[in-house]
Each structure stands twice: as C-alpha cells, then as structure tokens.
C-alpha cells in the first residue's frame, strides 16, 4: 500500500516539477519572482516539518536558523566581498552551528518550554541585529553587493531546483529508518528510548539537518533579494508564516509543507486587492483548515486516496 503511494506521489511530483520548470516560457517575470520566493519559503517549511512532524519538537523560532544563515552570508559578502557561493556555504554552516548551540539547552526541555526557548532565540537575534547596526544594517536592513544572477528565469530555476533537491533529501530522510526512529521518539520518547535508540542524538541530528536547510535557503534568499532585513528573515511573524505553511500543507508529510508555503505566498498576492484584510483572510482560512482538516491539504488528499 505504502509503495503504491510513494510511486504515485513520485509520478505526481515529477509532473508538477516538469510543469513548474517550463513556467518561465509562458508567465510574466512578476509571477516568477513571486514563485521564486515561495520556493525558498517552501524549504523553510519543509525543514520545520522535519523537526516538528517527525521529531515532535515545536520550534517556534525557525527564523533563528534562517536569520543566522541569511545574515552570516550577507555580512561576509558585505564586509569581505567573498564569492557568493562561499558566502552561501558559510551561511549554511553558521546556521548549523547556531542550531547545535540552540539544540543543546533546548532539547533538555520539552513541549512549551522547548517552544519558548526557540522563541527567545529569535527575540535575541532580533535584538542583536538592531544593537549591532554597524555590522548588520540594523532596522533598515543590510545591503548585499553581489547577487547570484540578475536573470529572473535563472533565479527561478535555481529556486525550483533547490526546493526539489531539498524536498527529495528531506522526504527521503523522513521515510528512512532514521525518520521512523525520529517519529517514534517524537510520539513516545520513553518507549523509543527503551527500544535502545539514542533519542537525544537523533533529535540533535534532526535539528542540525533542519538548521542546514533553513540556513542554506535563507542565504540563497538574501542573495535573491539583494538585502537582508529583520522583517524578511528574522521577525517572529515570518516564523509564524513558516509554521502556518507547514500545518496548512499537512504536518508529517514534508512535501505538504512546500505546498502550504506556495499556497500562502500566492494567496497573499491574490488577496492584495483586499488591502489590509489580506492577512486576516489568510489567517482565517488557515484557522478553518486547522479546525476542520487537521491533516492539512496533503493529509486530506492522502486519506481520501486511502479510503478510495
């Protein structure tokens, strides 16, 4: 049964990706720009889902990992003018280190306490950015001299490729024996521990993988934007969007998180004519999904498939 689903899922994903890859041929640069951001956002949401959906840890501060990656890449590029690729790798590594430092104390606590520790980390990073304004550009934002490319099409393909590869790795990880151990330790840590699995080590690993992809995506995003600011990569509101995207798309599905993120960004754009009510409508729809379709988009689709 599960083999059937993975194979159908594989075919559907392949078709979707091929269609998405041909989009630059017939849509405007504006739509491409929107989707580029949405794809990076999708990686944020997938990385978050690995930590929550599988390891069972509610990370309220995805933007801590994203922000560290984004700002490290941006600052190195701004201060030393190193090549974009070196900066991106440094950003991802910095994010892994930050994830490790955060995970060590945070994994000592559970549930709401873990959530709060991660939330505090975001608030600290936000304060740090504002206080060290000389280095970080403060509230105005950090200007980044280099970009990966100025071609909208190339940027779009990079984002799509990056999301596809990250999605494949994260999904594969979630379906691997490692993912099952993570899932077990998220649902019943005592029993999983009794079966002889080192829970802390597995969760730490999930945290580091999540941090790596968040940081990498954050770093790529700032080189696309050409600027890093608290409002785009650090603010708690951005983190909330990541969480909402993952829950909307269907937690514990990884791929659903990417769908949720794309939906969230595209819906926000469609609702632009409603002005200030756009966020209200998106939150309202998200709340309805949480209340009535707790499995999210992909969860609802999969359970219907299972019944049929």
């Amino acid at each position: 049964m599960s083999g059937f689903f993975t194979s159908r899922l594989f075919v559907i994903s392949l078709v979707v990706i091929i269609v998405a890859a041909t989009l630059p041929l017939y849509v405007s640069g504006y739509v491409l720009g929107l989707l580029t951001v949405a794809y990076y956002f999708g990686v944020f949401a997938m990385a978050w889902d690995l930590l929550f959906g599988f390891a069972g840890e509610v990370n309220f501060g995805p933007t801590f990992l994203i922000g560290v990656g984004a700002y490290t890449a941006g600052i190195v590029n701004n201060q030393y003018g190193w090549s974009v690729y070196v900066c991106i790798i440094l950003g991802a590594l910095a994010s892994v280190v930050a994830g490790f430092v955060l995970a060590l104390p945070a994994l000592r606590v559970r549930g709401p306490y873990f959530g709060l520790t991660t939330l505090v980390a975001v608030l600290m990073l936000q304060n740090f950015v504002v206080v060290f304004a000389d280095l970080t550009g403060g509230e105005i934002g950090l200007t980044i001299p280099d970009v990966i490319t100025i071609s909208a099409n190339a940027n779009y393909w990079i984002a799509l490729g990056f999301m596809t590869v990250s999605g494949a790795i994260l999904y594969g990880l979630s379906q691997s024996p490692l993912g099952l151990v993570l899932q077990a330790s998220g649902q019943d840590p005592v029993q999983a521990g009794a079966l002889g699995f080192n829970i802390v080590k597995h969760k730490l690993f999930a945290f580091i993988v999540s941090a790596f992809f968040s940081g990498l995506s954050g770093a790529l995003l700032v080189f696309y934007f050409g600027t890093a600011s608290v409002g785009t990569v650090v603010d708690v509101a951005v983190g909330v969007n990541v969480i909402v995207a993952a829950v909307l798309g269907g937690r514990r599905t990884v791929l659903g998180a990417a769908l949720g993120a794309i939906f969230l960004i595209v819906a926000g754009e469609f609702l632009r004519p409603t002005g200030e009510l756009a966020t209200f409508i998106v939150s309202f729809v998200a709340l309805l999904v949480v209340l009535f379709f707790p499995g999210g988009f992909l969860g609802a689709a999969l359970s219907r498939g299972a019944r049929a």
Binding site: P112, L123, F280
Partner: protein, 298 residues
C-alpha cells in the same frame, strides 16, 4: 530628562519599575491560570489585551462615553473575546476526534495564534496601526519625595495589586475558586466529586477575560497600545509565565516583578534600546538550570 541625584533616580526606578511590574503581573496571571487549569497556552493573549485597550479608547474618544464607561466597555470586549477564543477555537480543537491527543497542544497553540492574528488585523483595519492612548481615569502629577509621578501610574499600580488580591480571595476563599484550584491539581478528581469540568473551564475563561481586559485598559492608559504591541505582549506574558513556572500563579507574580524591574533598570541605567535583553538572558539561564521555572512543579 534633567540630571538627577543618584538617590532620586533610584527612587524613580523603584516607582516606575513597580508600576510596570504590577501591570505585567496582572497580564500574566490570567494566562497562567488558564494553563494551570486546562493546559491551554493562549497565544491570542496579546491580541485580547490590545482589543480591550482599543475598545476603551474608541468608546471614550470616538463615542464620548466617558472614561469609566470606556474602561468597562474595554473589559467587556476582552470578556467577549475570551469566550469567543474558548468556544470557537480551543473547545473545537479539544473535542475534535480527528486530532490525535498528543498533538492537541500544538493545535491549540497554532489555532490561538491564528485567532490572535485575526483580531490584530481587524483592529488594524478598523482603527489603523497608529498608537492609541486611552484617556486616563485619573489625571495630573504628584510629587513623591521629589520624584514627579503621574497619578495614573500610581492608579495603575493600585488597581493591579487590588485585582490580584481579589483574585487570590476568589481562588482561595470561595467555593467556585476552590473548585478551580482543585481542577488545576487533579481534573479527574474534580469530576469524581460531581463538579462539571466544563463549567469550571467557563469560569476560568471568564476570569481570564476580565483580567486581560483590565490589564489591557490599564496598559492603554499607562503606555498606549497599537496593533503592533500584540506580539510583544504575548511573548512577554509567555516568558513571565515560563520564568515563574507554568501554571504557578505566585511564580508568575514573582517573575513579573523580576522582569519588570530588570527592564526598568536596564532602560534607565544602560539604554532603552537594550530594555528586553537582560530579561531574555535571564530566561535562557533559568531554563537551562531550572527548566520548570522558579516555582513550577514538574
């Protein structure tokens, strides 16, 4: 501000810190009460406080109802919002059969968070993002041993202490309050004694609504609010409550004063820009050495 002698500044920090801390304490008490009794972390807390303040502001400044009536309208708005949170968001999630029990906590968190954003956006839509200051009930300035203090600040501190004392009497000395206290210790035991747990939850949410309403209106009079204050207000209540120990009312009172004074001290002695940093550091430190908080039970 004019340069002041050291002793005077110390006194000023003492007075300002007390008012801020008392307000924090009042805001966090309702939050911790709900968690203690029903295990719900209500992330729409900040939005409900701001709603109370904005309703009071709109009643007093737009409809000219007078300050007292305005304050009452603000508290009533918070009460309605608290019930709406419970009946429209929290209860459906708790009763849903499609959400596994071990995931209800995260769903309540996500649901109340979204609900808070909705309230915040509606406030911004109808009343703009501009900061609003509720007309204070008492005006003017008094001189306390050379420190000029707004009467409103003293009023805020007194009301906060009075309401917290009232809550203490309610919880420890009345029948309903004792039922609430019992429910926080052992919900099943309370059910076995023939008390309807649902009614207790409704009472707790009513108490919460009134507390958040009073805290919101006072905050609106004392510091002013805007729809941007929603996030920071929720975060500060959350951190105070965790610092004190989730569900422990006395713990949150102590934590509120620790955080309030720490922030005031930093703002006066170092720079208002660093205001929240030491409190956050303290929080991380406490979580590391004592994860259950100052007075929390494991």
């Amino acid at each position: 501000m004019l340069p002041q002698p050291k002793s005077m500044r110390a006194l000023q920090i003492l007075i300002d810190g007390f008012a801020v801390s008392a307000l924090y304490a009042l805001g966090a008490t309702g939050f911790t009460l709900i968690f203690g009794v029903s295990g719900v972390l209500n992330l729409s807390h900040g939005a409900i406080m701001v709603l109370a303040a904005v309703a009071a502001w709109a009643a007093a400044s737009v409809l000219h109802t007078g300050t007292y009536a305005g304050a009452l309208i603000g508290i009533a708005a918070a009460l309605v919002a608290a019930f709406a949170t419970y009946f429209a968001v929290v209860q459906p999630i708790q009763r849903s059969r499609r959400i596994p029990n071990e995931e209800k906590e995260i769903f309540v968190l996500t649901g109340t968070l979204l609900w808070g954003i909705m309230i915040q956006e509606l406030i911004a839509y109808f009343f703009t993002n501009n900061a609003k200051t509720v007309l204070p009930i008492v005006e003017g300035v008094v001189d306390i041993v050379g420190v000029r203090t707004p009467r409103n600040e003293i009023f805020t501190a007194i009301v906060c202490c009075f309401v917290i004392a009232l809550l203490w009497v309610l919880v420890n000395r009345t029948r309903t309050g004792k039922a609430v206290l019992a429910a926080s210790m052992n919900p099943r035991g309370v059910t076995l004694l023939g008390l309807e747990l649902n009614n207790i939850y409704i009472v707790v949410w009513a108490i919460y609504g009134v507390l958040a309403g009073i805290a919101g209106v006072l905050l609106g009079m004392f510091l002013g609010v805007s729809s941007y204050s929603v996030g920071p207000l929720t975060a500060s209540a959350f951190s105070i409550v965790v610092l004190g120990g989730l569900g422990s009312v006395s713990g949150s009172l102590i934590a509120a004063f620790v955080v309030g004074y720490l922030e005031t001290l930093t703002a006066y002695l170092i720079s208002p820009a660093y205001r929240t940093i030491p409190a956050l550091l303290l929080l991380v430190f406490v979580m590391y050495i004592r994860p259950q908080g100052l007075l929390g039970r494991r």
